[in-house]
Structures are given as C-alpha cells and as structure tokens.
C-alpha cells in the first residue's frame, strides 16, 4: 500500500515475503527463538501437560480447564478471576476502521489495551503500537513509536497499528502446531496452552502485531482485570506468543473493544460488516478506506481512512 513502492503482482510479493520471514529464523535466530522454551518453567500440573488441543475439547473438559486456570491465577497472582469462552457467533463478521484525520496519537488506546488485557506492567506492553508519521509519508517502517511530546505535533500524523486479523494470515500458516487460527467471525486467536513459543508467527507478521512473553507477566492483584477469556485476555504463561484479539471477551458479548472506548477523539469504528445498517459498514461503503501493505495479499479486516 506504500505509495512509493510499485505494487508487485500479489502472489509473488506475498510468497517472497513469507520466504523471507521464515528464512530470517534460519540459523542463529532459530536457537534464540527456542531458548525461552528452555528456561520456561516446567508445566506444574499433570492436567496442564495432558490438555488436548483446544478445538477438540468438550464443553465439560473446557469447564474443568477454566477452573484449573482460575485456581492457578489465584495461587500465582492472588486474584479471583473468571475465565470464560465465547464462541464466534453466526451472522457476525467483525471489522475495524480507523480515521487517520482524527487520531492525534495520544496512545490512550494502547493504555486501555494494556489494562484490559492484563499485560505485563514493567514492560508497558500493549497490542497497539502508535506510529508517528511524517505527513505525506506512508512508510510504516519509518514510523516512530517512542515520541514523547505534546500531540498532535505539527507536520505529523499518527497511525495506531494492531493485529489486522488477516483473512489470509501469514502467522496462521507458519504455525507448526496449529496453536493459532482464524475463527468464524474473523478473529485470529492463539491458544496459549498449545503454543510452543517457536515465534515463527511473530516473524511472519508484516505488521509486527505479535508479542512474545519472555518472562511470566508481572501484574499486581488489584490491577488484574478479572473478566477473562481463555483465548483472549487471561494472563499469558511465559514462553508463548500473544496478540490483539479484538477484545473477544467483550465484543462477542456485544460490547465495543476497550481501545475504541478509550479513544478520546472518536477515531475508531467497529462492528459487524454483515449488518447493512452498522457503522462499520457505512464507513466501508462511504469512506475511501485502505489496508496496510495491501500488496502482500494478507487481506486485513482492519481498515484506515482519511476524511480529506
């Protein structure tokens, strides 16, 4: 989508990228990618070790597993939490759009994500990176994420980037153990109990949307959001990859994502594209939306637009 790069024929560009992504992990990086696995603490419970693949578990098995995870959170973090599971609903296809003429780069969305999703406190982790961009440039690689002055700054615009929930997701394809997949409503999820931490997906993502848990997240009991989803904001174990899941523990219950609610500017629009009357549908039909790195053929369901 970069205006300066001529669009390559879709397929070759994509394959080129995927190869590059995997090749990156070739030699030394491979050892480094695996090293966190080596110092990850052994799985404490036998039940945890024996847990089957999430998609194959029965409702009863899932319930038992949630109870066990809740008890582990109590033991490790001293917090009473409820872990639930909300399946994708028929008739719902989520999409997100962001108005770049409105966003001022205040990072309130990143902060809301940090809190909602029980991120590690010391690292200030968040699923959303906000890039400060030169006006007129579309080169994501040159966006600065560490700006620290009043916003909006003259001559700049701001581009929040999070998981684009691609239809044709490179991260899903490279996972060797099917620990990450796309659900019916379009959300790409990670089963943190199934993930082996190889980090192929992190390397494959052209949007830098995935994060690796190098250590066990640190978070005070009082700050833990107790409303947790198994595939979303429950506290992640060490040694697994995580990413934005459109706040599925909220959105699959009809609520708006935390980052949207936190936005003081109203730059974010979310909803069900299958619904002709939805706000998101209106935006897709009436604004000139575009996707990031369109030339890679990832087919994001996260859209951007300018008012003028």
């Amino acid at each position: 989508m970069t205006a300066t790069t001529p669009a390559l024929p879709e397929d070759s560009a994509r394959r080129g990228l995927l190869k590059a992504g995997v090749a990156l992990l070739g030699a030394g990086a491979f050892a480094r990618a695996l090293s966190p696995l080596l110092d990850a603490k052994p799985i404490t419970s036998l039940a945890g070790f024996l847990q089957g693949h999430y998609k194959e578990l029965t409702t009863i098995e899932k319930k038992a597993m949630f109870k066990r995870l809740e008890a582990e959170t109590k033991k490790d973090y001293g917090a009473d939490v409820t872990i639930g599971d909300w399946p994708a609903e028929p008739g719902v296809q989520f999409a997100y759009a962001l108005n770049l003429s409105i966003c001022i780069g205040c990072r309130k969305c990143s902060e809301a994500c940090h809190e909602e999703n029980n991120h590690d406190r010391p690292s200030g982790n968040s699923y959303i990176r906000v890039l400060e961009m030169e006006q007129g440039s579309m080169d994501l690689e040159r966006g600065n994420t560490t700006y620290d002055h009043a916003v909006p700054a003259p001559g700049k615009y701001y581009m929040p980037v999070q998981c684009q929930q691609c239809e044709n997701a490179p991260c899903v394809k490279v996972c060797p153990v099917e620990a990450t997949w796309q659900e019916q409503d379009g959300i790409v999820v990670v089963d943190y109990n199934w993930c082996i931490g190889c980090r192929y997906c992190e390397a494959a993502c052209p949007y830098h949307a995935r994060r690796f848990n190098w250590k066990k997240p640190e978070i005070a009991a009082a700050e833990i959001n107790p409303n947790q989803g198994y595939l979303s904001n429950r506290i992640r174990p060490q040694g697994v990859v995580e990413k934005c899941h459109f706040c599925l523990h909220r959105t699959r219950q009809g609520r708006l994502p935390a980052c949207l609610e936190a936005c003081p500017t109203g730059a974010r629009v979310f909803g069900n594209v299958l619904d002709q009357d939805s706000e998101i549908r209106w935006v897709l039909n009436n604004k000139r939306v575009f996707v990031l790195k369109e030339e890679l053929g990832t087919r994001p369901r996260f859209f951007y637009f300018f008012d003028k």
């Binding site: 609610e261 974010r268 008012d307």
Partner: protein, 206 residues
C-alpha cells in the same frame, strides 16, 4: 497526504465494488447479494437499547466561581442578567466585549455571537433560519455549518461512542459536539501521550 490517499484508495474502491471484490476481501461479505438472508445476521435493526447523547449539566448557566456549602458550584442563569439588565445585544464579537465575558477565548472563524446565541433568550441558540433551539440541541446548530462531520457523526464515524456495538444487547452513550469542541474555540485540545513503550521491540524506528 490527500494525494497518497487517493492513490491507494482507487484500488480499494474497486475492491469494495461488487465486481472485483472476490480477489481482495472486504470480502465476499460486502459483495454478498442484497438478498442474503438477514435472519441470522446481528442487525442494529433489532435495536432494543437506546443511544444516548451526553448533555452538559451546566448548559444555560455561568459558573460564578463561588462554591456552596457542599463545594457545589454556584451557577448564574444567563437570563438572570440578560432578561433584566442586558437586554440589547451589545457585542458582535469577542473584541466588542467590554464589561463581561471578557477574556473569553474565541477562535472560531469569524462567526458572530449572534450566529449561534439567540439574543432574545440567551439560554437558547438559533439556527440560520431563525428557529430557536434549546442549548441541549446544539448538535443541530453545529451541523448546519459542518455538514460533513454531522453526517459522519450520525453514522458513528465521528465523535466515538461507548457501550455496545450490538444494540440488541445493550445501550450506547455518545459525546455531543461540545464535549470535545469548545464552541468558542473548537480546535481539539492537544494531549500529552500516555504509556510510552518500553519493550525492546519498540526501541526506535524499524
């Protein structure tokens, strides 16, 4: 920027159109024939809950700066002065103000006070055609001169919201124009950014 937007957007417009949509997907979804069975689609038509627009509590009154016994602000109704003592319109613009409301920040084009305030009843506003509206309906007034934003707002694409995307499951609350834009100096305020990223991944551009 506008130019860049146009460049990429042409393509997307094509992909949004019913035809080429199969290849790039705003997906098959948007290209779905209009007669797609809507029965199982979560629709805002099944609206059971309302969307409420936030209204400022202090409309129609001035904060005197004094505080009551419980620390509550003491307000003076506009008309406590304007109905009795200050009947005539005295000021067109902020620079005409001599006795009162002096020092008000005013940066809204060259719009005159009377373009918005009704000078018979200053607790009300009026539209261009003279229709008098209560302060709480200020959105209509703004919308007269800012049609694009008013239209976007009506479609949820300006001004944001809180609560439920699915109005069959819960309500929604929205900010009014003047929650975000001071009517006298409407430029959106500047912010100090929060949550500076600290992880190794984010050091510098890449």
């Amino acid at each position: 920027m506008a130019r860049l937007a146009k460049h990429t957007l042409g393509k997307v417009a094509a992909m949004l159109g019913a035809a080429g949509a199969a290849s790039v997907a705003v997906w098959a979804v948007l290209a779905a024939p209009p007669n797609t069975p809507q029965g199982n689609v979560k629709s805002t038509k099944a609206v059971k809950f309302s969307t409420e627009v936030h209204i400022r509590a202090d409309f129609g009154a001035l904060d005197t700066g004094k505080r009551g016994p419980k620390g509550e602000p003491i307000l003076a109704r506009c008309n406590s002065c304007h109905a009795e003592h200050v009947k005539a319109p005295y000021a067109r613009s902020v620079t005409d103000l001599k006795d009162f409301h002096v020092g008000k920040a005013f940066a809204h084009g060259t719009v005159a006070c009377a373009a918005c305030h009704d000078l018979q009843d200053r607790e009300r506003l009026h539209l261009a055609d003279g229709t008098v509206i209560p302060l709480a309906e200020v959105q209509q007034l703004c919308g007269q001169c800012h049609g694009l934003q008013a239209r976007d707002y009506a479609h949820g694409a300006h001004g944001g919201m809180n609560g439920y995307w699915d109005l069959s499951r819960g309500p929604r609350v929205r900010n009014g124009c003047v929650d975000c834009h001071n009517p006298h100096a409407p430029k959106f305020q500047s912010y100090a950014p929060v949550l500076k990223p600290r992880d190794r991944f984010l050091d510098g551009p890449h």
